[in-house]
C-alpha cells in the first residue's frame, strides 16, 4: 500500500509540473513576454512531448526499439486534417469537430499500429527497429503519392496526379500528392496541447501500474519467464504497441491542425523525426515519463535559445547530445561521478562534524 502512494505521488508531481509550466507560460503570454518565434513553437512542443511519452511506452515499457513513430503521427495528422477539411461546413462547431478529428486520428493510427504490429512484433531487437523504420518511410511515401478529391459524386482517388481524379468543375481537391493538404482549420492551441499531454501522461502512467502494464514489463524483462507464468506475449506486446501508435496519432492531429498546409516531408514525418523523438526518450531516461517530457521541452527549446549563435546552433546541439549521452551512460564517467559524489558527501559530513 505504501508503494502505491509513492507511485501516485511521483505521478502527481509530473502532472503538477506540466500544469505549473503551463500557468507560467500563459502568464508570460498574457504579459507579452514571449517572442512570436517561441509562440509559434508552443503547439509543436506539445506535439513532441506527446510523441516522446508515447514512444517511451514502446521503448521503455515494452522494451522494443521503434524507429517509425513519425509514421503513426503522419497517419493521425493526415486522417484528422482530411476529416476537418471535409466537415468544415457540416460541423460548424470548431471544438466538437476537432474532438472528433482527434478521435479519428487516434483510431486511424491505432489501426495502423495493429497492422504494423502483428508482423513486426515477431521480430527482435535491431530487426524490429529497421522494419519499423521501413514502415515509417512507406507511410510517408504513400501519403506523398495520394491524390484525393471530392465533388457531387463523392470521393475520387488517384495515385498519379490531380487531373486523373476526373473531378467535376466545381469539385475540390483535398490531398494534392506531395503538396499535401491545404486549408485545415487552425483548431490547435497551447491549452489543448497541454490537456492532451496530461491525458497522455495519465493513460501511460495508469497503464504502467496496472495488470496490463505489469504483463508488458514482464515480457520486456524476461520473455521466457513471462510465458512460463501464463502471459500472452503477442497480446500484450500488441496492446502496448497499438496504444503507443494511437497516442502518436493524437499528436499528429494536434500538429496538423496547427498548420495551414500539411505536407509529408522527411523532416516532419520521416525517420529523422522518429529519431528525434527517440533522442528525447533516451536522453530523458528510458521508461521515465517525466524525463521524456523534460527532454522534449529542453531539446526543442535549445536550438531556439541558441538562435543567437545562428549557424552554429545545430552544431552545438549535436555536441551537447553526444556529451550528454557519454555523461549519462559511459561506465567510466558514471564511476567517476559516483566517486565524486561520495567525496563531496564525505567532505560535507566532515565539515558538519
Amino acid at each position: 500500500m505504501k508503494k502505491m502512494s509513492k507511485v501516485t505521488k511521483n505521478n502527481l508531481i509530473t502532472y503538477a509540473m506540466v500544469i505549473a509550466a503551463y500557468i507560467v507560460m500563459e502568464i508570460l503570454l498574457k504579459t507579452g513576454h514571449v517572442s512570436s518565434l517561441l509562440q509559434g513553437l508552443l503547439v509543436p512542443l506539445c506535439t513532441y512531448v506527446i510523441l516522446a511519452v508515447s514512444l517511451n511506452l514502446t521503448v521503455g515499457i515494452l522494451g522494443e526499439l521503434s524507429l517509425g513513430h513519425a509514421g503513426f503521427m503522419c497517419v493521425g495528422a493526415f486522417s484528422s486534417a482530411l476529416f476537418s477539411l471535409t466537415t468544415k461546413e457540416a460541423i460548424p462547431n470548431g471544438g466538437l469537430r476537432f474532438l472528433i478529428a482527434i478521435l479519428i486520428a487516434c483510431v486511424a493510427a491505432a489501426v495502423c499500429g495493429v497492422i504494423v504490429g502483428i508482423p513486426v512484433l515477431r521480430l527482435k531487437g535491431d530487426y524490429l527497429a529497421i522494419v519499423t523504420l521501413a514502415f515509417g518511410e512507406i507511410i510517408k511515401n504513400l501519403v506523398n503519392a495520394i491524390y484525393l478529391g471530392i465533388d457531387s459524386k463523392g470521393f475520387h482517388f488517384s495515385m498519379k496526379d490531380t487531373i486523373s481524379l476526373n473531378l467535376e468543375p466545381e469539385g475540390k481537391v483535398l490531398i494534392k500528392g506531395a503538396q499535401g493538404i491545404t486549408g485545415t482549420p487552425h483548431s490547435s492551441n497551447f491549452t489543448i496541447g497541454v490537456i492532451l499531454i496530461l491525458i497522455t501522461l495519465i493513460i501511460v502512467n495508469n497503464l504502467v501500474h496496472s495488470r496490463t502494464g505489469r504483463a508488458v514489463m514482464s515480457i520486456r524483462d524476461n520473455r521466457i519467464a513471462a510465458e512460463s507464468i501464463g502471459i500472452n506475449i503477442t497480446k500484450y506486446k500488441l496492446i502496448a504497441f497499438t496504444l503507443s501508435a494511437a497516442m502518436a496519432g493524437v499528436a499528429g492531429a494536434l500538429y496538423s491542425h496547427n498548420l495551414a498546409t500539411l505536407t509529408a516531408l522527411p523532416k516532419n514525418f520521416g525517420y529523422n523525426m522518429s529519431i528525434m523523438i527517440l533522442v528525447f526518450v533516451v536522453l530523458g531516461g528510458i521508461g521515465n515519463m517525466r524525463g521524456s517530457v523534460i527532454a522534449a521541452v529542453v531539446l526543442t527549446l535549445l536550438p531556439e535559445l541558441l538562435r543567437g549563435l545562428s549557424d552554429y546552433r545545430m552544431l552545438i546541439y549535436a555536441i551537447v547530445l553526444i556529451v550528454m549521452m557519454i555523461f549519462n551512460w559511459s561506465p567510466a564517467v558514471l564511476d567517476m561521478r559516483k566517486k565524486l559524489a561520495a567525496k563531496l558527501k564525505k567532505n560535507q559530513t566532515e565539515k558538519e562534524a
Partner: protein, 293 residues
C-alpha cells in the same frame, strides 16, 4: 533493351549500396551497434575528393587515396571519442550517440561548404560501353562501380578469412570476452573494423557522386539508411550478405523507378525488406540463433 539498361544501372547502384553496407555489417557484427553516422562519413569522403579535385587540382586518383585516409582517420576518431566510452552499455545509448555524430558531421559540412548543391565531376574517365549497335549504353562509371565492388568484396573476404587480424575480427564478433581471453586486442580490432568500414565509405562516396553528381551535406544520409537496410536484408554481420542485399536493393529500386513510380520506389524497397524479414527474420544469409532456456 531498356530493361537491361535499367537492370545494369540497378546493379551499379546496388554495388554502391553493397560497399556502404559492408561498412555497416562489419561494424555491427563486431561492435553490435548501428553506426548511424556511417552514411555521413560517405558525405565527408565525397567532399574531400570534391575539394581536392575541383579546388586544388589534385589528380583524381590521388584525391581518392587522400579521401580514404581522411575517412579512415575520421572513422577511428569517432569510434574512439564517441563510441568507445559507451562500450558495454545499452545499445540504445550508443545508437543515440551515433545519431549525435551524424548530426555533427552534417552540420559541420553545412558550416564549411554551405547548403548549396555542389556539382561533382566524375572521377571516372573510362568511356561508355556501347553494345548492340547503340541500343544499349553502359556508362564507364557503372562498369567501374561494379568492378570495384567485386574487387572489394573478394579482398575483404580473403582478408577476414585468411589473415590474422581478419580472423581476430571474426573472433571478436563471436564472443568479445572469449576473444580477449585468447589474447586478441579487442579495442584494436574494433578500431581496425571502423578504419576499414570508413575507407570503404570513402570509395562508396566517390562512386556514388560520380554516378549522381549532386553533393550536399545530406548526400550520405539516405544511401546510408538504404545500405543499412541492404545489410539487414542480406543478413547483418555477413559479408556476402551485404553484397547480395545491396545489389538486390539497388535493382529493385531502379526497376521500380523505371516501371512503377519514381515516388514509390523507396516504399517498394522497404516493403520488400519487410517481406523478406517476415519470411526469414535474420535476413537472407543471416544465422538463426535460438535462445537457450
Amino acid at each position: 533493351m531498356s530493361f537491361i539498361s535499367y537492370l545494369v544501372t540497378g546493379i551499379s547502384l546496388g554495388s554502391v549500396y553493397a560497399i556502404i553496407a559492408l561498412g555497416y555489417t562489419m561494424v555491427y557484427g563486431i561492435a553490435k551497434m548501428l553506426n548511424f553516422a556511417h552514411g555521413d562519413v560517405i558525405m565527408v569522403g565525397s567532399y574531400v575528393v570534391f575539394v581536392a579535385v575541383s579546388n586544388m587540382g589534385v589528380n583524381p586518383y590521388v584525391a581518392i587515396l587522400i579521401s580514404m585516409a581522411v575517412c579512415t582517420i575520421l572513422g577511428m576518431t569517432i569510434e574512439k571519442v564517441a563510441y568507445k566510452p559507451l562500450r558495454g552499455t545499452s545499445p540504445l545509448a550508443v545508437l543515440i550517440t551515433a545519431i549525435g555524430v551524424s548530426y555533427l558531421l552534417q552540420n559541420l559540412a553545412l558550416l564549411i561548404f554551405g547548403a548549396d548543391t555542389k556539382a561533382f565531376t566524375s572521377v571516372v574517365t573510362l568511356p561508355n560501353l556501347v553494345l548492340f549497335e547503340g541500343q544499349l549504353t553502359i556508362s564507364g562509371v557503372t562498369i567501374v562501380t561494379v568492378v570495384a565492388c567485386i574487387i572489394i568484396m573478394v579482398c575483404l573476404t580473403l582478408f577476414v578469412n585468411k589473415t590474422k587480424p581478419g580472423r581476430a575480427m571474426i573472433a571478436v564478433s563471436e564472443d568479445k570476452g572469449a576473444a580477449e581471453l585468447m589474447g586478441i586486442n579487442v579495442n584494436g580490432t574494433i578500431a581496425l573494423t571502423f578504419a576499414i568500414g570508413s575507407a570503404l565509405a570513402a570509395i562508396a562516396g566517390v562512386l556514388l557522386c560520380s554516378a549522381y553528381p549532386a553533393l550536399t551535406p545530406y548526400t550520405g544520409s539516405m544511401p546510408g539508411i538504404k545500405a543499412f537496410v541492404a545489410a539487414v536484408f542480406g543478413g547483418i554481420g555477413s559479408i556476402p550478405g551485404a553484397m547480395i542485399g545491396g545489389i538486390i536493393l539497388g535493382v529493385i529500386e531502379n526497376l521500380s523507378k523505371a516501371y512503377i513510380s519514381s515516388q514509390m520506389a523507396d516504399a517498394i524497397v522497404f516493403a520488400v525488406l519487410i517481406v523478406v524479414l517476415l519470411v526469414k527474420p535474420t535476413g537472407i544469409l543471416g544465422k538463426n540463433i535460438q535462445e537457450k532456456v
